[in-house]
Symmetry: C2
Subunit: 194 residues, 2 copies
């Protein structure tokens, strides 16, 4: 057979890239087809419709990518330090374009949560997984932290700031604001310590 799985993966990869850059709605199938060098028939052989393609991108590309990014940052010996390191590294390592492009999770959340229930539930699930990941690992070292912290609340707060900062950077079109907010976020995180 002509390697079906390979073309499927090619579609997923390029679709993920297009969606990250332009959002789901603005991503046109014809562009994906052109970049993949395949026909409409091929695409619709692998995916029932555009929405199902979007779901697949979210589940098979974004979700694992996301967890792989965050997990090491909070599962380390010292989550406080490595979370800060994680954020600061982002400021340093990521290109301006990448930052301005924003976090795919946040982007899709903004665009699709209110429009499509399938997306909303998948995004919500991802948010909760991420939140649990952070909250659980803060809880784990709670003896080192200030008393009376609501770890769930703190976790949501951290993610909110991160997403908000990447939103800010879009209008500024540079890393400066991103850096600023991340710096303040790190000082907030460090202040969680006793």
């Amino acid at each position: 057979m002509r390697d079906a799985e390979q073309t499927r993966q090619k579609i997923l990869g390029i679709a993920a890239d297009e969606i990250r850059q332009s959002g789901f709605t603005a991503t046109s199938l014809s562009i994906i087809l052109a970049r993949c060098n395949i026909s409409k028939g091929a695409l619709y052989h692998h995916f029932a419709n555009k929405l199902e393609l979007g779901y697949a991108v979210f589940e098979e590309i974004y979700t694992p990518m996301f967890l792989a990014m965050w997990a090491p940052a909070v599962e380390s010996e010292d989550p406080i330090a490595s979370l800060c390191h994680f954020f600061e590294n982002m400021s340093k390592e990521m290109s301006c374009d990448e930052i301005v492009c924003g976090c795919p999770l946040n982007n899709l959340c903004q665009e699709m949560s209110g429009v499509d229930e399938g997306f909303r539930l998948r995004i919500l699930n991802m948010q909760q997984q991420l939140n649990h990941l952070i909250a659980f690992n803060l809880q784990r070292i709670s003896n080192e932290l200030r008393a009376g912290l609501d770890f769930n609340q703190v976790a949501y707060f951290i993610v909110s700031c991160f997403h908000g900062s990447s939103s800010l950077s879009k209008s500024a079109k540079n890393k400066e604001l991103f850096d600023k907010v991340i710096r303040e976020l790190c000082s907030y995180i460090q202040a969680l310590r006793k």
Copy 2:
């Protein structure tokens, strides 16, 4: 004459409402025309094209609305207290739909900053105005606050968290997460005090 300014305002108002709910791209002129009970000719008599209509909505509706919302919260005697009150009031007073709908500034920033330069610059300008408003008024009471604060940075941080929290609420479709993040934001703000 048939009151031209009145129809212009009607268009602006309804367009603002549609854009807030659906975003700029997803807002179709035909819906605006239907809700306004006017013809396409009328709309294009007042606005050169969809983009110009969008700009007008941003400048004449969103911007003043936004400044009117934030200004009293930071220009008061005690900005720390009234900022917290401002946020907490939002959680209480705003309907679930309103919160889930999100902040128009943040929504447009996410959607349009990367796509259209005209929108991007207007949004950037608004962000900077808002940031200056907050930073200036924190500076004003700097003797009451902790030493070594970068007021600009703190201001961007606050706005980021706010925008991030309204993004979070979209996938959750309820106020709970919004409340959580706002609560943490308030405790952060109060900790700015000496």
